[in-house]
Subunit: 138 residues, 2 copies
Amino acid sequence: MNSVFKLDQRLENDSIFIADLALCQLRLNNDCRYPWFILIPKINDITEIIDLTAPQQQQLWHESAAVSEWLRNNYVNVKLNIAALGNVVAQLHLHHIARFVDDDAWPAPVWGKYPPITYTDAEQVKLKQHFLATFIFP
Amino acid sequence: MNSVFKLDQRLENDSIFIADLALCQLRLNNDCRYPWFILIPKINDITEIIDLTAPQQQQLWHESAAVSEWLRNNYVNVKLNIAALGNVVAQLHLHHIARFVDDDAWPAPVWGKYPPITYTDAEQVKLKQHFLATFIFP
């Protein structure tokens, strides 16, 4: 039996729960500068994609593609930034960020560039509802 | 029949050819600050991972996992940074960077942080030979 999944405290504090997928917890990074979703495989004590089994890796990429498709279908003229870094938060997590040529950090990567501007409660609810109504679950 | 694959000029200038894999050209970024490999799918005019067909995406992740395994097997205490950004060079390319807590940019992402320190010709040859002798082709 699997032990209970334990989400890193910093990921929990800095992002908003959106949905549980087959492999990952999907969260919205709480920074309205950029549409920014994070997939966190619900497996404890792993830090690298290659720590996942081959079937888990395949499922991760299915879920990643679904998030990418949603971002591209819901924002215009988007460039996706997909990344697993983990230099600060070790728990394996995969960023999906919709970038735009007029966004605050363009063309630099977003990490460490500007302090987040958090969503209002109403904005969070609205975006989450829209996401759940339109996302094609992988 | 496929048209001839055309590598972005900037990728060509800033990196060193290592090998042709089934889907991707594998190149070494010419910056000896970090062990840094780049996979470039040999398909023209695509910018996003989700522009690849499902079988191509699967092959990309096989090749990515092989590069990741090689990096982890050949460097000690490594943290992998895997990323498809493409904000500056549009052609789809996937970074694989071995990071260390004492590297120049840690824990920040490497992009745009420091100017590259290029390999000497002898260093390039040595690293490429070692890579080709030990890499498990996916």
